[in-house]
């Protein structure tokens, strides 16, 4: 087991190194010139070149990458010596566009995204698995139709549509909720909650749709399994049968996908964050794309990659725990 974990970790580290290098390369290959963007239209070419040097974009890519990596472990000074800004380790770079250490930006936006992701995740699992179970158990009858219909709606309408609709109905037309202005949970729990409740539901509805279908189909498939018939033949109660036999088996693939979905969400829920004005990782990334803010892009890509790599490892271990057939010995 220890060996498995070590091997997994080593693999993850190598993977992250590759992803970071790839990210670096991809973003530097984009046509937009981050140095040119630092100065406006009556900007002299010499200033652009000086800014390029200041931002470090004049150096060979390998050197830029090495410097970036070093910053993660040792911290780094950015800018000219006399007026430089120090970002302590782990430094993910400095955004000359936002004038802040990227680590600070990530640390500020990540809790927002995490709050959004966690709440939405719990909701969508409850809604998705709950409705899916009801649909499977009442197959062909109205609860099934309702749940299936819901899942079609959730899948068909884009997040921004459902999000805007929610804003219209709950904020603008009925005034049931104030317009969300995010506050940290420690700062103002009530505002935290009111700013997140709609996005939680919107994200949950959109994502739950898939889980309704997955749960329903998974359970129906499992119900046809011989071992379920054997369970009935044993004389097991319906509840025990559904929980220990049907759901237990149907949940294995769902848990796997849910783990990855959650990790993906932690990397930033771009659309939802934008519509509900949640200053999370997704919005940070989006703004960085618009501004060609390379350090932020590399950092958010890396952070998202870390989540996904970690989630993959966790899901692997969890999968082994959930399904004895793939358990490592």
């Amino acid at each position: 087991m220890l060996f498995f974990v070590l091997r997994r970790t080593a693999f993850a580290v190598v993977l992250l190194l590759l992803i970071s290098a790839f990210t670096f390369w991809i973003f530097s290959a984009l046509p937009a010139d981050p140095a040119a963007l630092t100065c406006g239209k009556n900007c002299r070419p010499e200033v652009i070149e000086a800014n390029r040097a200041r931002l470090g974009y004049d150096k060979p890519l390998v050197e830029q990458y090495a410097g970036y990596m070093k910053g993660i472990f040792a911290g780094r000074d950015y800018g000219d010596e006399a007026s430089s800004v120090h970002c302590p380790a782990p430094s993910l770079g400095y955004s000359f566009d936002r004038h802040e250490c990227v680590t600070t930006l990530v640390a500020r936006t990540l809790p927002v995204t995490a709050s959004l992701a966690l709440g939405a995740f719990i909701l969508w699992m409850v809604i998705g698995v709950g409705l899916g179970t009801v649909a499977a158990l009442k197959r062909g009858r109205w609860p099934d139709r309702l749940a299936t219909g819901f899942s079609v709606v959730g899948v068909s309408f884009p997040t921004f549509f459902i999000g805007l609709l929610a804003i219209m109905v709950f904020i603008i037309w009925t005034g049931l909720l104030p317009f969300p202005q995010y506050r940290g949970i420690t700062e103002d729990p009530a505002k935290w909650f009111t700013s997140l409740i709609l996005p939680w539901f919107v994200l949950a509805i959109v994502s739950a749709a898939t889980y309704v279908r997955m749960t329903r189909n998974g359970m129906l498939e499992v119900m046809n399994e011989e071992f379920v018939r054997l369970g009935i033949a044993k004389g097991l109660s319906r509840r025990r049968l559904i929980v220990k036999y049907v759901m237990r088996a149907a949940l294995v693939p769902i848990v796997t996908i849910a783990g990855l979905d959650f990790a993906f969400l932690l990397g930033g829920a771009l659309v939802t964050e934008s519509i509900f004005n949640l200053p999370g990782l997704g919005k940070l990334t989006l703004a960085a794309v618009v501004n060609s803010d390379l350090p932020i892009l590399v950092a958010t890509t890396l952070v998202a990659a870390v989540f996904i790599v970690v989630a993959n490892a966790v899901v692997d271990v969890l999968y082994g725990y959930l399904d004895p057939r793939v358990r490592v010995k």
């Binding site: 010139d33 239209k41 070419p45 007026s83 800004v85 104030p178 200053p279």
Partner: protein, 588 residues
């Protein structure tokens, strides 16, 4: 004024200060001043003013880096004072220069090369310490620090102050306060000196309206002890009626009242609200819906960014919005520059103008709400210096092309300048423009409408972020641009765009036969201290440029806005094309 850096890509393309712009079905555009919301009917002190915007943040709070009309006005009216400023009132009077930190509008030497200003008493920083002359000098010195302020703000300090040229990034011998050694610092201290409360600026050449120049925030004070270099824009030190309590890009900017500001030291500002909160990163469509619905706190809100085209009909087609909406010029004029050296034939330049389907271009941008066909390179907002010029003969008022006139003009060119004629009709004129979606549409209109008159256009799209850097070196025959005045004087338009050493002159017009005469008149206008006389000189010069067709004027662009029903004093402050935000009050 330079565009918002953030929006630079979109803005360069549309040459507009604010992101969204016109369109409009049945509603027609005409100027609207905001009705009740522009006045102070029922205003009370206190309350929180909200500013809703789809932008992720402001472009900067660092006074030496600000170069956006709206932000220059917003920060100037709230937390950072300057020696002079504009009178915060609606209408033409709003472009009147008034003393702010200075006791008067400054004293110039006879040769207009030395300007002195004396500071008022009792101007304090937010920590209660006094704003000194040295703080102003230090603030000005920051402009020189390319490694910190990155050339984002206006560069007048560098181009005007009497400091020798040198090898700093900005071509000055003085590299800014961080990198300067004692000798270099002495150069600056010589050009900007303090004697008690009097600050004296020594200039390279005469500048008649230098007292306007010091109204730019680039000439605002910064206390050296508080300067965090690149990060100063996150929490600038205040000496105005408001101070920055917190600023998080993507989230909020909170301005609260500065207890150490007193009315006694400030004859200009009249703060009314307790707090101004900017909310960033809102969805544009959501902002419009909220403003139209006008519920709760949104009644105390203004918008930074205009109204979406699809909502203009709703807002301007319904008189219920009469007291909450504004529609006016934003200070920008878009235009297309000729490379006068390569298109050295005024007949060809005129033919291009006559053949261009300006109406199709405006329709593609969104119709009449986006602006009016420009009749001057000076924006209508610059009331004193603006006069519609007499345009080329045969130009259609409605913006449609006059193919016949264009063809006739080309015939003239055939004999007058056969080489340029051949180039325009056979090789084609290379058109440089930023490679944006807007311009993909626009260039097709250019090619089609000019093609109808027999002029060939060679499309040369340039990656948007590299556009100005590219045309700085390699210029085509036609180039897209947009400009607004840096202060309420056409001295920041005509000389900048067309004059010798103009910061934004890409025309290669120095060798044009008409140039020497033009430049002589420009120099005369720059040195004219009688404002009225100067104004008529600018108007003459504008007509001169129009006659030479060094550039084809595009649109004097407009923007539309909607405020919450409690907002008072929400008039468009002409020099900045936006509200005097520090003076807005709330009713009810």
């Amino acid at each position: 004024m330079r565009n918002l850096k953030r929006l630079s890509v979109a803005v360069i393309a549309s040459a507009m200060l604010f992101g969204a712009c016109g369109g409009g079905g049945g509603a027609t555009s005409g100027e609207e001043s905001g009705g009740r919301s522009a006045g102070f009917d029922g205003v009370k002190d206190g309350g929180t003013l909200y500013v809703l915007t789809s932008q992720e943040g402001v472009s900067t709070l660092d006074p030496q880096r600000v170069y956006t009309g709206a932000e220059l006005g917003a920060w100037g009216s709230t937390f950072t004072r300057t020696l002079t400023t504009y009178k915060p009132v609606a209408g033409k009077d709003g472009t009147t220069l008034v003393p702010d930190m200075a006791t008067d509008l400054g004293t110039a030497s006879d040769d207009l090369k030395t300007w002195s200003f004396t500071m008022r008493d009792g101007i304090l920083w937010e920590d209660g310490s006094e704003v000194t002359c040295g703080d102003i000098a230090y603030g000005v010195s920051r402009t020189f620090a390319a490694e910190v302020t990155a050339g984002e703000g206006p560069m007048y300090a560098v181009s005007y102050l009497d400091i020798p040229e040198g090898d700093s990034d900005f071509g000055s011998a003085y590299p800014g306060p961080w990198l300067a050694d004692a000798d270099q610092q002495a150069l600056f201290d010589e050009a900007v000196s303090c004697d008690g409360k009097t600050i004296t600026f020594k200039l390279k050449s005469p500048v008649a309206d230098f007292n306007y120049t010091v109204g730019l925030l680039a000439f605002a004070p910064v206390p050296k002890a508080q300067d965090t270099a690149d990060q100063y824009g996150l929490k600038p030190f205040s000496n105005g009626p408001f101070k920055v309590e917190s600023y998080e890009e993507g989230s909020e900017l909170v301005l609260v009242r500065n207890e150490n500001w007193s009315k006694d030291s400030d004859e200009v500002r009249e703060p009314r609200v307790d707090e101004i909160i900017w909310q960033f990163g809102l969805d544009e469509a959501v902002i419009d819906e909220r403003m139209i619905a006008d519920a709760g706190d949104d009644q105390n809100a203004i918008v930074y960014g205009g109204i979406l085209p699809e909502n203009l009909q709703t807002v301007f087609g319904d008189d219920n919005f009469k007291d909450r909406r504004t529609d006016g010029f934003d200070g920008f004029v878009s235009y297309t520059m000729f490379n006068v050296e390569s298109v050295s034939c005024v007949e060809v330049r005129k033919a291009v103008w006559l053949a261009l389907d300006r109406e199709a271009l405006r329709t593609a941008a969104g119709g009449p709400f986006t602006g009016e066909f420009a009749k001057s390179f000076v924006a209508p907002l610059l009331a004193a210096d603006y006069a519609p010029a007499k345009l080329v003969d045969g130009l259609n008022e409605d913006g449609t092309p006059n193919v016949e006139a264009a063809k006739a003009m080309l015939e003239d060119a055939k004999t007058a300048c056969p080489e340029v004629y051949a180039k325009a009709t056979e090789d084609g004129l290379r058109f440089d423009h930023p490679d944006t979606d807007t311009w993909k549409k626009n260039i097709a209109i250019w090619i089609d409408s000019l093609g109808a008159a027999g002029i060939k256009i060679v499309d040369n799209p340039i990656e948007p972020s590299k556009y100005y850097a590219t045309i700085n070196g390699d210029r085509g025959d036609l180039m897209r641009a947009g400009w607004a005045a840096d202060w309420a004087n056409a001295s920041t338009v005509i000389p900048e765009l067309f004059g010798d050493g103009g910061g934004f002159n890409y025309h290669n017009n120095e060798n044009d036969p008409a140039f020497a005469d033009f430049q002589a008149k420009v120099d005369k206008a720059k040195a004219e201290t009688d404002r009225a006389k100067q104004s008529s000189l600018w108007k003459e010069l504008n007509q001169y440029v129009i006659d030479q067709v060094w550039s084809v004027p595009g649109s004097a662009t407009k923007s539309q806005n909607l405020v919450g029903s409690n907002v008072r004093g929400g008039y468009q402050w002409l020099p900045f094309g936006w509200y005097n935000i520090g003076g807005i009050g709330l009713a009810g």
